[in-house]
Symmetry: C2
Subunit: 153 residues, 2 copies
DNA sequence: TATTGTTATACTCTATAACTATA
DNA sequence: TATAGTTATAGAGTATAACAATA
């Protein structure tokens, strides 16, 4: 936001003073707020990799040789969307594409650098997770995961 | 997604068969999944208005005459971002801009059509909310809201 | 015929910087 | 000088349609 003069804390109070109408009691809305708060914290902690990109690295790490199309299915994106994302990871030297036995396909592998960055990202994510879970007891965290699971199915 | 041949249920099984690695236990990740599931259901139910757009209508409805800049602050977007969003709502006849006493400002009001569409959207959202809350008891819903609040705080 | 990766293209949502008119 | 709205522009992230290579 440009011209940030009023500090966030004051803006938040101003915001609460004004009536937000029908939203605050809604699960969907509060879920969105919580997710956005967590995302901001994530973006600040995992330098240069979006949650989506980290998800790709994790999936490739767990499924070395996976093809672009099967990766696209796994993360529920179009396979054309994968091309740019993988180009990006490849140009950063994090993954490699190897032509498959079925020569239409590319198998995907993490490079050494990719494994290194993923390891660092996972440690940052673990710290992130501890920060956001810090306000919950272990029992509350279990409870929250169980409740979210009922919603996301 | 293009060329959707495998049904979602099968894809989901296939996805679980492959190892997703480090993600499943993470609060941040599960929050994102739940939020995405809810968003998909929302998009299917509130015809033609994104959650963000509905948020603008709700805020203007609750704060008639609010200026563009104060609206932008309330929803934590840049005021330049508001211009396009409000142009869109105005061109659909849902809001009007009226020049303020301070002639730099535009006050925002819902039109009759805007109030009508908002009412319909809120009913759709209520149905949406009932669907996603249907798997929770009233106590569980209260619990979930409280836990989310500790995170988003 | 069908599938894989790719390209061209476009849409949504977001931001920054610079402009204008007003204060 | 400072603020409100606007414009020009750009960058993520996403999708659809069509194409060449391959099966």
């Amino acid at each position: 936001m440009s011209q940030q003069i009023v500090p966030d804390s004051l803006k938040r109070i101003e915001r609460r003073r004004l009536d937000q109408g029908a939203l605050p009691g809604l699960l969907g809305y509060r879920l969105r707020l919580a997710q956005q708060a967590v995302f901001r914290d994530f973006a600040a902690s995992v330098h240069g990799l979006s949650p989506g990109r980290v998800g790709l690295l994790i999936y490739i790490d767990a499924n070395p040789g996976v093809t672009q199309s099967r990766l696209a299915e796994a993360v529920e994106r179009d396979r054309s969307t994968m091309v740019g994302a993988l180009d990006q990871l490849q140009s950063r030297g994090l993954i490699e594409r190897r032509r498959g036995d079925d020569r239409r396909t590319n198998g995907l592998w993490l490079t050494r650098a990719g494994r290194g960055l993923l390891a660092r990202a996972l440690r940052a994510i673990a710290r992130h997770e501890r920060r956001i879970a810090a306000r919950l007891s272990a029992a509350q965290k279990r409870q929250l995961l169980a409740l979210l699971d009922r919603i996301a199915g």
